[in-house]
Amino acid sequence: MKKRSTRRKIVGTFFVLPGLISYFGWTIYPIIKSFLMSFHKWNINPEIPPLFIGFENYKKLFQDTLFWLALKNTVMYVLVTVPGQIALGLLVALLLNRDVKGRIVFRLLYYLPVVTSWVIVSAIFQYLFATRGGIVNFLLKDVLHLVSADIRWFSQPSMAMVPIYTLGIWKGIGWSMLIFLAGLQAIPREYYEAARVDGAGAWTTFWRITMPLLKPTFVFELVMLTIGGFNVFLSVYVMTGGGPRNATQVLSTYMFKQAFQYFHFGYGAAISVVFFVLVFTIAQLQRVLFKRTEA
């Protein structure tokens, strides 16, 4: 019997070995390496060994005004797009969670942006928001008469985040909707029936039954969308490249610029480490915070 279990251990090891080797080589090792690199000055020339400089990269980073600007823009992106996706996703989910004609088709269409790649939808949005002849300006100026002149979405620093926010919300509604639909369907029918027997109206039922029972779904969406929001990259990279004058620079594009345009690998690694610590802390904080209020 002993022999058999040893044999099974060996067989099991063989099953997981290829996957674990690639996991350790391609995830764990790079994580450690990122931390190590952030304490070094790297030269583009591989012949010159990296120089240990301690916390120099971090010191420089915290005095770097562009880093703070990128952080601010990233946080703003999260603050705008996360509530936007949650609110609209919830709205669509509530509307679809009844006997509507064409439920499946609606779900399919609302979900379409989720499965389309960021490169493609970012290109589309850049075209929609074009200054002259863009359909957004056409709607605002010529149809609705809300503005008197074309808005220069991508060359006016105060406006440049708007298309990026819009795309972020538009692309995420389908996902948010789907998660809320799953949450709504998990609420037992009896609760609603009991509420109706007690004479509760639609509004009371929504606030007293639906919302409290959706709480775990809210927390899940909040955490996932916040992580996703901090990771915003391709929409900015494709539409504005961080410009004009860094008005749309976010953490990921700034890291990309430092690492892959200036070849400051150590500095870029320091940005990515700070980024990681930040996202990790916020996600944990959200989890703990909302768990506590639940009890």
Binding site: Y110, S117, L178, L225, A269
Partner: protein, 278 residues
């Protein structure tokens, strides 16, 4: 009471329809712009039906702009990449689900702990590793292998639960009948796990087919480019020609859309469970 309810239903339908227009219109607009001649790309008011419609943009993009080549490259990277990724993930998940080995639960906790590590943290060292070996740069094989190795943690986590839910007795009786461990896995378990595997295939396909950033770092010469790199190159030119760009994006998005409409059930599951990726 009854008419009130009817009116509520109608207004809900109207809201949903308006929303659906907002969700679908950008795709429609991309499609019709890909059929426009250059002179009609920025007309005011915008043309909502292309007149005259032309297929020239597609021919130009496919031939002159090399998208035929990029399409082929995307396929030659995605197909083996997905196969490798799914195979590695399934092997790993099955090992965790059915076998015992040293440090099993410790390693599994590590997998879960690293699930939310952003790709951003990994990419500089990953690039360093690859560029240390010159032959890995500008090599499609590199992208296939790295695509295959990506996301193992999530996939193993996702599949383990599914494998554990399968009835053990079938595997045991197959073993008694003389199947070896790999045969049990390949001929018995994998077919039973088809729904989960399909979900994983879709997740993996989307990730690899659409990936731009990593391949653009590795694949430097034009003849190795994939579709997203080709699209970005068209966009990066001095005069941005949207009708051509959108012919290019149509080529890239069509396979995704076909698979989406055919396998929507798995797709919805895939992205919902796959959460958000960079």
């Amino acid at each position: 009471m009854k008419t009130k309810k009817k009116w509520i239903n109608i207004s809900i339908l109207v809201v949903l329809l308006l929303g659906a227009v907002v969700m679908v219109f950008p795709f429609y607009y991309m499609f019709i712009t890909s059929l426009k001649q250059a002179a009609y790309v920025f007309t005011v008011p915008p043309q909502l039906i292309p007149k005259p419609a032309t297929f020239e943009n597609y021919i130009f993009v496919w031939k002159e702009a090399n998208f035929g080549r990029y399409f082929l490259n995307s396929v030659t990277i995605t197909v083996p990449g997905v196969a490798l990724n799914v195979f590695l993930s399934a092997l790993t998940a099955y090992g965790f689900a059915r076998y015992d080995f040293p440090l099993k639960e410790v390693i599994f906790s590590l997998l879960i702990a690293t699930l939310s590590v952003p790709g951003l943290l990994l990419i500089i060292p990953q690039f360093q590793i690859v560029s240390r070996f010159g032959f890995l740069i500008d090599n499609k094989l590199t992208v296939i292998l790295t695509a295959g190795a990506g996301g193992i943690a999530f996939n193993a986590f996702f599949l383990r639960g599914f494998f554990e839910g399968l009835p053990k007795e079938i595997e045991e009786s197959a073993e008694i009948d003389g199947c070896n461990a790999f045969q049990v896995f390949w001929y018995i378990v994998m077919p039973m796990a088809r729904p989960a595997i399909a979900t994983l295939v879709i997740m993996s396909f989307l990730g690899i087919w659409d990936d731009y950033f990593w391949p653009s770092l590795i694949l430097q010469s034009k003849h190795n480019w994939t579709l997203p790199i080709g699209i970005m190159a068209l966009k990066g030119q001095h005069t941005v020609r949207w009708n051509l760009i959108f012919a290019g994006t149509m080529i890239a998005v069509t396979p995704v859309l076909i698979i989406y409409f055919l396998l929507q059930k798995y797709f919805v599951k895939a992205v919902a469970e796959g959460g958000l990726k960079l």
